[in-house]
Structure formats: structure tokens, C-alpha cells
Amino acid sequence: MGGSEPARERDTLKQKTPPMSKNFAKRQVLPGFGITMGYTVTYLSLIVLVPLATLFLKSAGLGVADFWKAVSSPRVVASYKLTFGASLVAATINAVFGFVVAWTLVRYKFPGKRIIDAMIDLPFALPTAVSGIALTAVYSSHGWFGQYLEPLGIKVAYTPIGITLALVFIGLPFVVRTLQPALADLERESEEAAASLGANRFQTFTRVILPTILPALLTGFALSLARAIGEYGSVVFISGNMPMRTEITSLLIISKLEQYDTAGAAAISVVMLIASFGLLLSINLLQHLAGRRYQGAH
């Protein structure tokens, strides 16, 4: 790695990155660009890029017809419907309740607030398998809540409701943590202006507050959705895993793999990856728009 002598470091930097040092003469005084950049790109390629490329190449090896057959068989389509449907419902629930939670945490004072605020990140910190068995224990027919819900005709565990519940659990922090800074940045002056112009609290909320925080709310919604689509650990225990009914796409990939259908597993994975990349892209776009709006306000 070297670096014992600044002059030598600078020399290696010059040798390795001639166009950079020409363009950015001011910055070149710091050593280590060549080695850190080289290491970054190599490590990134070996761990992330090459393995991900393998996935696309493997499914491309199927050919168009077989690829289409692998990603559109009835069992696979049923799993998409379940996964995307439950994820959409869960992200919507999180958008609504996540907003209420973020609002109360930012605006109000109540006992235990700081602990509750810290606990919002529990789904991040808790291993997904642990969340999965905990939710199943509470909501199965013998569980604390399940035993009262079952006589009412509400079966949670081993149904799409249970899957949605697990996805609400793991997606909640995304909405709350995206909304909290946006709500804290809201300018009281604009609310005061709205009120002084005769708006009631509800009008101020729908016409002043909501439009301002909408990008953050949508970002939180999309992040929660993206996480839910790929989720596995917290769902498998509560879902029951019945093909065509409660089998999520992640689980289907595993069962394809267990049947030595690696190309089929790769093909379905590509569909999922494209879905989450698409979501990621729209999140970046949203944040870009929100950033512009934020800068415009100052």
C-alpha cells in the first residue's frame, strides 16, 4: 500500500491518473486516489457486479421463448399477484399509519416518546426470521391475538393477511424515517399564513402541509414497497407457503432452485430485480424533484 512518503504517493497518483491530475490540479495534493479507487472498483466488481451479471447472462441463456415460459407460468403469475398485491397494500397501510406515527413523533410531546421513536427502527435491527416467528406466534390460531380473531372469522396466519402484516412490519421504518425530517423542516410560517387567510386546520393540512411533504411520503411508500417485494425471512413463517395461494415470489425462486431449475430461478429473479430497480429509479427521480423544490424554497 505504501504511502510512507508523500512525494512518492504523489508520483504514483500522477502515473496512474494523468487526466485527473491535469483536470483537478488543486485536489491532487492528497495521496491515495489510485489505490483507493482501484480497490473500490475491483471489490465492487468481484462482489456485486460480476455475480449480478451472471444472473442476467444465465437467464438470457434460456432464449426468449423459454424465458417467457419460465416467468409466466400460472404458479409464477399467482406468486407475482400475491407478492405485488400484498406489498402494495402493506406500503399503503404504512403510508397512512407511518404518516400518523411520524406526525405525532415530530409535532407532539407525550410520555415515552423518545423510546417509541427509537423503537421505530426495530424492524431494521431485528433479524427477519425472528420477526417472522414472532408475528406468527402472536397471530396464529393459538396466539395472543389470533385466538380472538379466529372466532370472528379473521384468519391472519397462513393467509395473505398474514403476509401483508409481515410486510407492514418490515416496511414501517422506511415511511416514518423518510417523513420525519420532511415534517421537521416544514415552515410554521406557511401554516400561519394559511390560517390567517382563513383556512381551517383541515384545509391547511390538505392544501399546505400535504403538498409539501408529498415527495417524502411517496419516497417512503416506494421504499417500503421495494423492500416488501423482495422480502423473504419475515414472510415465510407466517405465509403457509401453499402454491397458487400463499406462495410469494422469493419462496418460488428457492423452490425452483431446490428442483435444480437454476435457469428458471434466474429468470424469475430477473423479473424481480427489474421491478425493484424500476422502483429505485423512481425513488431517485422523486428525491431529485423534492431536492429541487427544497432548494427553490430557500
Binding site: P31, T36, A118, A125, L126, I133, Y232, I253, I254
Partner: protein
């Protein structure tokens, strides 16, 4: 967990005492505040929702683990498969966290201290593993190193096993914790700029001295934050590791996989006992994370002020 504050009915009593509110009642309400009833409704919904979704499942882990008493609880740990799972989880975490720490430091140095074309593309690519679902994260290594994978025949002819063995588990763990340290360090170091480092170098410090005496003290909390988050994820990763592990008992089961085996065998007390250990780890993680957050906030604000 904290039953007194999470229970809406006890809260309702405290809500009536004016000192717990910024403004006591409807008659003192300003135009930019909601009526007391709306507040009650919102605080009540927050607590009910979090109780149903977060707090009760959390409590259930400990209740299920202790269902048959402390003796049965501790007996769950008296099992060679448990200890081999502990060892494997520590091994995978012990390799992946330092590996990603070194990567995170290198990447943030290159990205934050120098200008080059394609920087935002590089940042996006570093974040990529977060967009890949856990099962797919494991699958890509099976496609590369598995028996039917590209390097599979070559590996098996040289007697090297990666999939269904420890190296695969380590690789999958590295993948899922890949961006944690880098994404904490990059924005902070970009905000801090490189004036201090340039001053150190012009005063004769070499690269390592500059890094350890100038850069590291400025970013130590963010670095620790990234390490804590990646440790929690590495210890708890399930989906990715599940795909590459092969579930060989006593050999390729990490702690979360061990929980799954126990649970599927209807050995609920043992499953929840092991889960309770990982839950305690998660709670410790949350405490450290919360403490670190305000320190990082302070570092960021100081960096913002100096500019």
C-alpha cells in the same frame, strides 16, 4: 416492553395533565395546532398501531422463550448445533464487517476527496445490493459457484466447495452488508471537504498519518454507526444465507437458520430462546444507533458551519 407507555388507556390519563402538552386545552390552541381531540386520536392511533405491529410481537419472543420456565430456556443453549451456529455466525460477521469496513473507507476516500467522472454512477452501484432481494443475493453466488454454475465444474475438480459451505455463507453476508459503511461515510466526508487533509499534507504528513490523525477522528461516529448496522444485518441475515447454506446441521447453519430448523421441528421454546438472544442484540443495536445518531448530526452540522 415498556407497557406503561405503550398502553393507550394509561396514556389517556396522563394526557389530561396539562404539563405533558405544549398547550393545554382547546381554549389556548393557536391556529396552527390541532384540537385536543384530534391530537388524542393521532397519539392513540400511533400507540395502538405500534403496539399491534411492533411491541406485542417483541414481547411474544420473550414470552414464548420462557413459556416452560428458565430451566427449559437455558437448556436450549446446551446443544452442539447451537454452538456451531454461534461460531459460524460470528465467523461470517467477523469476516464480512471488516471487509466492508476497509472497502467503505477506501471508497469514501476516493469519492469524497477527489473529483472524477462517473462519481454518481459509482455511488449508485455501491448502493445496488440494497435493491437486490435477499433470496436473489444468495442465488447469484449459486449461479456462479454452484455445481451447475459457471465456475462449478472447475471448483469441484480442484476440490473447492463454496456453495453449501462456509465460503458461500461469508460471500452472501458480505453482499448484503456491502453498502452500510460506505453510505454512512460518503455523505459525511463529502460535506467535510478536504481542506483539513490538504493542510496536513502540506505540513508534511503522509497519507496514513493524514487519514488516521485528521480524517478518522472526523468520521469516527459515522464509521462506528456503519459497523453497528452491518454487524446487526450480518448476524441476522436469513434469506441470502439460506439459499447458499444447504442447511447442513452443525456445519452450515447460522443462528437465524438454526432458529428456522428448531421452529420447523416444533421445538418452539428453543427456537424462541435463540431468537431472544438475537432480539437482545437488536435492542442493544438500537440503543447504540440512537446514541450515535445525534453525534453524527453534530459532526454534520459542524462540517456545514465551517463551510
Amino acid at each position: 416492553m415498556n407497557a406503561s407507555t405503550s398502553n393507550p388507556s394509561t396514556l389517556a390519563v396522563t394526557l389530561e395533565s396539562p404539563e405533558s402538552w405544549q398547550v393545554a386545552g382547546p381554549q389556548l390552541r393557536t391556529a396552527t395546532e390541532e384540537s385536543i381531540w384530534v391530537r388524542w386520536l393521532l397519539v392513540g392511533s400511533t400507540l395502538t398501531f405500534l403496539t399491534l405491529v411492533l411491541f406485542v410481537p417483541l414481547a411474544a419472543i420473550f414470552a414464548e422463550a420462557l413459556r416452560k420456565g428458565w430451566a427449559a430456556y437455558f437448556a436450549s443453549f446446551n446443544n452442539p448445533n447451537f454452538w456451531s451456529a454461534v461460531k459460524l455466525s460470528f465467523l461470517a460477521t467477523g469476516i464480512s464487517v471488516p471487509a466492508n469496513l476497509i472497502f467503505g473507507v477506501a471508497a469514501s476516500w476516493a469519492i469524497a476527496k477527489f473529483d472524477f467522472r462517473g462519481k454518481s454512477l459509482l455511488i449508485t452501484l455501491i448502493d445496488l445490493p440494497f435493491a437486490v432481494s435477499p433470496v436473489v443475493s444468495g442465488l447469484i453466488y449459486v449461479l456462479l459457484f454452484g455445481m451447475t454454475g459457471w465456475m462449478g465444474p472447475w471448483l469441484s475438480s480442484h476440490n473447492i466447495q463454496i456453495i453449501f459451505a462456509v465460503p458461500g455463507i461469508v460471500l452472501a453476508t458480505i453482499f448484503v452488508t456491502f453498502p452500510f459503511v460506505a453510505r454512512e461515510l460518503i455523505p459525511l466526508m463529502q460535506e467535510q471537504g478536504s481542506e483539513e487533509e490538504q493542510a496536513a499534507v502540506s505540513l508534511g504528513a503522509n497519507g496514513w498519518q493524514t487519514f488516521f490523525r485528521v480524517t478518522l477522528p472526523n468520521v469516527k461516529w459515522a464509521l462506528l454507526y456503519g459497523v453497528i448496522l452491518s454487524t446487526a444485518r450480518a448476524m441476522g441475515e436469513f434469506g441470502a444465507v439460506s439459499v447458499v447454506s444447504g442447511h447442513i446441521r452443525g456445519k452450515t447453519n447460522t443462528l437465524p437458520l438454526h432458529i428456522e430448523v428448531l421452529y420447523n421441528e416444533y421445538n418452539f421454546v428453543a427456537a424462541f430462546a435463540v431468537a431472544s438472544l438475537l432480539t437482545l442484540l437488536a435492542l442493544v443495536t438500537l440503543v447504540m444507533k440512537t446514541t450515535l445518531e445525534w453525534r453524527i448530526q453534530r459532526d454534520l452540522e459542524e462540517a456545514g458551519k465551517s463551510e
